[in-house]
Symmetry: D4
Subunit: 224 residues, 8 copies
Amino acid sequence: MTDPHVKLDLERHARIGLEEAVLCQGKSATQIDTVLDRVASAKASILLTRLPAERLEALSPHHRAKLDHDALSRTAYYDWTRPADQGHAVAVLSAGTSDAPVAREAARTLRYYGIETQEIGDVGVAGLWRLMARVEEIRALPVVIVVAGMDAALPSVVGGLVPGLVVAVPTSTGYGVAEGGQTALHASLASCAPGIAVVNIDNGYGAACVALRALGIRRGGTAI
Amino acid sequence: MTDPHVKLDLERHARIGLEEAVLCQGKSATQIDTVLDRVASAKASILLTRLPAERLEALSPHHRAKLDHDALSRTAYYDWTRPADQGHAVAVLSAGTSDAPVAREAARTLRYYGIETQEIGDVGVAGLWRLMARVEEIRALPVVIVVAGMDAALPSVVGGLVPGLVVAVPTSTGYGVAEGGQTALHASLASCAPGIAVVNIDNGYGAACVALRALGIRRGGTAI
Amino acid sequence: MTDPHVKLDLERHARIGLEEAVLCQGKSATQIDTVLDRVASAKASILLTRLPAERLEALSPHHRAKLDHDALSRTAYYDWTRPADQGHAVAVLSAGTSDAPVAREAARTLRYYGIETQEIGDVGVAGLWRLMARVEEIRALPVVIVVAGMDAALPSVVGGLVPGLVVAVPTSTGYGVAEGGQTALHASLASCAPGIAVVNIDNGYGAACVALRALGIRRGGTAI
Amino acid sequence: MTDPHVKLDLERHARIGLEEAVLCQGKSATQIDTVLDRVASAKASILLTRLPAERLEALSPHHRAKLDHDALSRTAYYDWTRPADQGHAVAVLSAGTSDAPVAREAARTLRYYGIETQEIGDVGVAGLWRLMARVEEIRALPVVIVVAGMDAALPSVVGGLVPGLVVAVPTSTGYGVAEGGQTALHASLASCAPGIAVVNIDNGYGAACVALRALGIRRGGTAI
Amino acid sequence: MTDPHVKLDLERHARIGLEEAVLCQGKSATQIDTVLDRVASAKASILLTRLPAERLEALSPHHRAKLDHDALSRTAYYDWTRPADQGHAVAVLSAGTSDAPVAREAARTLRYYGIETQEIGDVGVAGLWRLMARVEEIRALPVVIVVAGMDAALPSVVGGLVPGLVVAVPTSTGYGVAEGGQTALHASLASCAPGIAVVNIDNGYGAACVALRALGIRRGGTAI
Amino acid sequence: MTDPHVKLDLERHARIGLEEAVLCQGKSATQIDTVLDRVASAKASILLTRLPAERLEALSPHHRAKLDHDALSRTAYYDWTRPADQGHAVAVLSAGTSDAPVAREAARTLRYYGIETQEIGDVGVAGLWRLMARVEEIRALPVVIVVAGMDAALPSVVGGLVPGLVVAVPTSTGYGVAEGGQTALHASLASCAPGIAVVNIDNGYGAACVALRALGIRRGGTAI
Amino acid sequence: MTDPHVKLDLERHARIGLEEAVLCQGKSATQIDTVLDRVASAKASILLTRLPAERLEALSPHHRAKLDHDALSRTAYYDWTRPADQGHAVAVLSAGTSDAPVAREAARTLRYYGIETQEIGDVGVAGLWRLMARVEEIRALPVVIVVAGMDAALPSVVGGLVPGLVVAVPTSTGYGVAEGGQTALHASLASCAPGIAVVNIDNGYGAACVALRALGIRRGGTAI
Amino acid sequence: MTDPHVKLDLERHARIGLEEAVLCQGKSATQIDTVLDRVASAKASILLTRLPAERLEALSPHHRAKLDHDALSRTAYYDWTRPADQGHAVAVLSAGTSDAPVAREAARTLRYYGIETQEIGDVGVAGLWRLMARVEEIRALPVVIVVAGMDAALPSVVGGLVPGLVVAVPTSTGYGVAEGGQTALHASLASCAPGIAVVNIDNGYGAACVALRALGIRRGGTAI
């Protein structure tokens, strides 16, 4: 019997160079299992996001066995074989320890597509020299993903120091006016540094997709 | 005598591949003239944004003479010679006629750096076939800037159709819940299409800078 | 003894053609039982909404026995006999899998009144061809309910393709700026397609009532 | 020379039964003239909204001569011949004197399509008997448009009294928390009466389009 | 040992005619016990609000024994003897069943001071005749407290029908735009009926205090 | 010819003890003249609010001649004879000089009904002794209207000092977070003093109506 | 005759070490003249803020003659003699040219009290080395006022580099999400650097008062 | 193995006079243990904030043994020896019992640095005399931290009474419009008293850091 609410977009890759991924938040275990059944039938692999360890347990054992799950980022690769290295590297910076899950989600998404990442954490601007010590290394990379909550001052500082594409991911860490990430989002959008690309709050996956689209440019606009 | 509040960042280009531009909104004519004095002393050119025709009249005549001003986008080039074509093209789509000034600001910024643009206006999704008629042409370009106000459904539709980098510029057009552009901004950030890069409301200049950073990738990460 | 806080509006149907329904959220099990006592006394049937499976267990067993409950939509029919088919059909579209509970709430409400529904799920605009494959079928129906969260681009696209009444139901699915459904609500209200009718966030029941009122028109304005 | 930012959607009527209209707010006089040039070339008529008397003066005299302008609603009909009466009537209620422009915009849009309207003003709920005196008359009509600002209590009261389709148009009248119309909008969406269809703040045009779509239902779903 | 964070304001009654009450939300069981120790030492009685049944269990048994607790309103009277009837009556109206806890909090506060209340529930404006059946009774009372969530249309309708002081208490019941009570609050403040006094969301206690202050007027301004 | 958008509610006084007043903001001069025509026909008097001096000039001369206008409060009495003194007095406090127009609107409304007022301005809590010097005088009055913008700390301090009914009117004075009056409104609603009645931002008229309703209590609930 | 709405707090200096200042925004020219009359009678001097050049013209000539007005900051000193230097210096940093008026307001307020300021403008973090070139100089000062709009990243960077008291003044410069200054305010409050003191948007005067209070500490807590 | 997301800033004290502290909210027990490992290796002490009793249990036993934890404030000192008294005292006022945790967080932070505090609780302005009884004592201190939720009227009253530095900490206590602390935050920022320094909602730690920076001034700007 077919569930009218689950359709899989297996041709998305051919169209835009990115595969469909499964955002597990807001889906029941049954719905996720149904998606994985279809992926299995198509002999495809797929990326799952926002799948915390405790929800993993509710999936069918035969699907769980094919999942490569990472607890920090709450991502999983389904029936996945590491692709050939695409020959690019992306820096993934984060401002504080609490931003690590989102940074890792970006890194895991990029690795799914064969892109190497350079994770550089805890470089918030209150301790500027920690960033400065790494700046030459970062300047050499074509794309820099910057993950930051609270005041999100880091994308502005990075944007003034490097020539590559800077993708800011505001996070919902923090409390008071920082809670929920609106402050970090608005600060990223209002950055005084020119040309900062912004994605939704906590959307490490989306930032990685921006990077993939931009790197596709380099390879002539064809799908990755 | 030096004004402590006006400093020019003439080395920005060397650092990040983008020159400083002058956001005229919020600056007095005197302050803008002071900036242009310094640009003239440095024998440099510069881009001015948000300079409406009526404020142009308040500037010094000798500076006005060197300004190539565009009324629709409210941008001006100061003492500017057209650079060699960089060999790239960027599509600049807009959803409605009211979005034209912001789309043109993006196009003028790109042209300042020698990038060709393909302006495609009035392709909002309520008349989907107008977009569909141009989709193959857009798919061939590495970067697509999408300017849309109100419900900003256009970036999502475009993001599902093309593989290139999609940069959404929400605009403040419209009334009621659309007024000020928050709805368009939030819809762009919450897009159901993966990997949409978003900039501040009405920030055509910023979208062009994102494109310039991304195209820099192709040319090996060196400054443009 | 009568509880001064529970009154049943059994004549609503005569007045406006719609029966009173019981919104279970915010009511205690005791209050719901009291309502059902009165419905039983009046030998009437009634529709209950927002009654999750776990709360169902807290109701009196003799009431539970008369409830036809649907877990996905959290709706229940009390002492209900399927009415004669009213000879109309309504399309219920939804953008993503997470929107299914709200879509089903609308469908179940319509079925309570004898209206057939065509549920078409997972047709978000990021994969436009999934919608296009069904568009002729949808165009033939007088009312289309469109359930969508996040950027809610779907009502605008549908509104530009079909002549019938389009009722948008924004949903609270998604995270970051999409969380809670304000973005989907505002995007639906600011739609670039003309004549989109909007109801409250997650209000599948309300959308069905709009459809019932509009279909009543056809039958001469008398109660259904 | 063609302006890339002005396109006319002359086939919209065939597609969805509604013609394109011109929202003049946010467009320059030159842009409006360009639109009217194209309408004239196509020997079509068109509806213009949000065109205040003072902006009318800026249009080309040969276009002005063909405009039937109404100052209260700021609407104009271009080269328009009154269509045959469609045999329907719609009630347009408004709560206060300040809501008159929006109510008239709805009425003028309906008349453009050959629909009669019954305008009933100043029936806010603080003086409930003014509404009660007219309620039987309103109950007989298939669609009721209710225009109300401030607390927007009127749609809820009307929705509990009449069986027809109720379309609420919140307005931006009032001050303090009422300013801008968010309170009226949210109160309309959260109405305790079932099945209220809501449109954007001050969007009398949109409410009329909802009515046109719903009345189309009655006439078999074909275009009006 | 004295806790520097707990002080009791036992002279408040002499100053403003109202005793201090204990808002239990946000206080630990230890802090509440400390307050009650001081009340007991002073041989006083006190009113506690927002004390749910489950938190009651955490208090000292010797204090629990002196508490007259009401589960619906989450209020408790400590060591309280019913005062002589003050010879006034206040109507407490509520729009829906979910508003009952807040309405009861107002009623319990008034009873603590010896004021009779007339609780009239479930009279939301979607079923206007339920209110109309009681309107003469309500008109005879000097103060009417109106508890309503969602669109809060009830205070406006009541304010247009009765001459007494109308105190609106918006509630946080409902979902979507109604969630949290901001819509009900703003609608109450923007009421089209003149002279509606508004208190904080869910603040039944505060509404009762407004009534007590107003009734104090009648008794010559001395404390109650 | 009758304008369907102007109706006069001349029986409101009999119903709720308050006459209808004319809020001039949002009405055209023509609409105000129409209202006054009807008032003149009925040989009634009426209160007009939010009528600035410059708009006064646009009214018909024969109406202007009958208007007693006050520039500070922007109120006017039409064809008004001072009523007999009602034997009550109300204090109208305001925190700063910028709050004077709103305080005066309350005072003028009360005077229209024959109530004396005690205007005490510039007693903001930053200079607490200015309030303390007057506190005994204020304590003796049954109703105290407190007009305050910015942080609106004054209602809380007054509410802790006097037993009478305290009506807070938040104002839109101030800048930054104070702009528009939301901060003052929310601070008034969240007051730590019990039983503060709040009205809409800048609504001096509404505060006076609350006072009139409360004073009506003393006179047995009959209309004033 | 005395205006009940204008009171002067001439003893504030004795109480808290700060004189009253006159916020001219929201006050009429007549009200300002009344204040100055009283200052003149008391043979005192006073500081006026938010007095733009054009409003200056509306004051009485004999008061204008005693005013030392600064157009950039819109401040004026009335009948003021430069006090002895207090032996302190405060740094006033600003991020962009548009922040200059607010920075100057802080500097002028400090100078009114005899404090030297070091104005350092245009040191936004997008060009970090401009700040770095001055950092040793800034580190030596006990108080640093940081004026920044848009993303307000500057206070965080400064707070991580200097040991003195850092007072952040968010400004309303910028557009889109930056408009009105909420983003800059929230980013300042959510700063990742510890111990940033924040004042209201555009409140250069308030920041100077914080500095004066803090410097008073050094001089033993007595009034300045 | 090193975790790229945990870096310790052990030189912060030398730079700005404040040590790094560990905000435990948003960090896993593993991440906190990693931080403490590094602190232990460096033979340093550190302050932990937002560490509730139940999370304490999840840390490594050998770290727990070195923690001096305070349940009310949820702070802990790691491997800490009481420093010599710095010879300063700071007043920490709070408005209500629910504000105690935040007040204590400020006090504990100051004590970590050797500063004495005077905790004065439950002095909200609704009972003004409780504050007045202590005002001379408070006036003598150079810094006053004022912790207040709801309407946050206390900082304004204190700011008008004392000459020292006043640091306002808005709290998230309360419900309705007070919930989350935005009202308290905005009221503190819009204070009618001059020179109130504000920190983020519930940020007792930050207020203490402001005090430490200000007291550093007295000691010549060198680190504490």
